[in-house]
Amino acid sequence: MHYDLSPLLLTFKLALFTTVILLCIGVPFAWWLANTRIRIKPAVEALVAMPLVLPPSVLGFYLLLAFSPEHWFGAWLDRAVGLRLAFSFEGLVLASVIFSFPFMVHPIQAAFQNLPASLKEAAYVLGKSRWQTFMRVLLPNIKPALLSGTVLAFAHTVGEFGVVLMIGGNLPNETRVASIAIYDEVESLNYAAANFYAGILFLLSFAILLLVYITNRRIFK
């Protein structure tokens, strides 16, 4: 029997894009959050952690409203860069970035906070700039957290369902990721196909996590 592989490929493409973007913005943001003393820090932290507690449909619903061409944000995006985020792959990437943000930021922020202050100070005393210190001393010493953040964000994006359903719908090759495909196949009583997608997700998730734990044990003991 032949199954359509595109939902799986789309899922991993989405997770890959999301993870790369999250690495680029999540690491500096976690660094800032670990060091900032601004008064509204608790509010910022609460906002970052919101996706952990909100039902995905709530976030999806508001994003859908914001992305719609009727809304000023959606209209502005359409006019300015010709980007339509509702029911598109780009929209899914943006939503996943928001939704997986705490999974990337939390471990990295915690790791930065746990580094002894003397490491940073020692590098400064040795004449190293903030940038050199960050790249050569601080980042290399939080490798395990970078790995967990990356893997958690990736895995969480692969597993996301509610937000994707709300703002992406079910368009083949555009927004029909594996978790949606499973739901769709079950709806049409096509259990064999659902089982195929579900099984692959199950095994891949296990394989990724296993790899992380093995690497963590070997390298970062």
């Binding site: 003397s118 005393v125 290399p140």
Partner: protein, 291 residues
């Protein structure tokens, strides 16, 4: 020569107090900051390094201004050319011993300095090890070597040996002294170990509640100048036992346990944990050499 005169508000265990220090360091001098914990010794060291900022005052090193609060000058740590040895050593866990030393080289520094330091500190065999695999004494040596690799004008040691056992401690004291003389670096060491201060420093600043209350050579500060007919040691009461009309008092002096007798009127005022001073006449003490 380094001239410092700084003021900073500090929070101590017994409320707020003001750190106010005014002193000069001659080129190549080894000075100790001595005093109980929480009197601002480490803060003073951190202000010299630029890791903390004083609220008022100035610091000048030779002809370079490091700090001038009135003129709003505060040279960043990176440009002060100080070496700072942290109590926890702060070795970079991601780098090998050699990597730590190489990282410390300033721009344009001779790479040969790393080889030289590895050799004089006898770290050649450990150069490819990561800090996590080293013993406390080895870490301390790497930290000292790394500090020296950056060619500091001023060496700041924050209780450099406090985490080590007595034997290692004594060996490393010799090492510090040798290196300090070899490189001729002006050095300030924070310590609350009289023996260490006596052995290493040429001058002691005794600090209390944020101020330098006394200064002089270690022998002036600690041995009351002249040969004494008395022993005076301080220690902590560990136990009190009544024996007939007397009491047996167990006191911890340094690392040694001393048992002495006490009269009951002395003993009733004491309880375990109290700090006491033991005074005894010693006109002709016996001195027995140990090997």
């Amino acid at each position: 020569m380094i001239q410092a005169s700084i003021t900073k508000q500090l929070q101590g265990a017994h409320g707020a107090f003001t750190l106010h220090a005014d002193f000069q360091l001659e080129q190549g001098e080894f000075v100790a900051l001595y005093g109980p914990s929480g009197v601002g010794k480490t803060t003073l060291l951190r202000c010299l390094a630029g890791l903390e900022q004083a609220e008022q005052g100035s610091i000048k090193a030779d002809n370079q201004v490091w700090l001038d609060c009135q003129a709003r000058i505060n040279l960043p740590t990176q440009q002060r050319r100080v070496g700072y040895m942290f109590q926890d050593y702060a070795l970079f866990p991601n780098m090998t011993v050699r990597g730590n030393l190489e990282f410390a080289l300033r721009k344009g520094a001779n790479r040969h300095r790393v080889e030289e330091l590895l050799e004089i500190m006898a770290l050649g065999g450990l150069q490819h090890s990561k800090p996590a695999t080293l013993s406390g004494g080895q870490k301390q040596r790497v930290a000292l070597a790394r500090t020296l690799a950056s060619e500091p004008q001023l060496l700041l040691l924050d209780e450099p040996l406090s985490a080590l056992d007595l034997e290692t401690r004594s060996r490393l004291q010799d090492e510090i002294l040798r290196l300090q003389q070899h490189f001729g670096i002006t050095t300030v060491m924070v310590s609350h170990d009289v023996g260490e201060v006596y052995k290493l420093a040429k001058r002691v600043l005794v600090m209390e509640a944020g101020r330098v209350v006394q200064q002089g050579t270690p022998s002036e500060m600690f041995s009351q100048g002249q040969t004494s007919g008395k022993f005076r040691v301080t220690g902590e009461v560990l136990a009190l036992e009544q024996m007939d009309v007397m009491f047996a008092l167990t006191v911890l002096v340094g690392n040694q346990i001393v048992r002495v007798v006490a009269m009951s009127d002395e003993a009733t005022a004491l309880s375990p944990g109290d700090r006491v001073m033991l005074v005894s006449k010693a006109f002709n003490p016996m001195v027995i050499k140990l090997d």
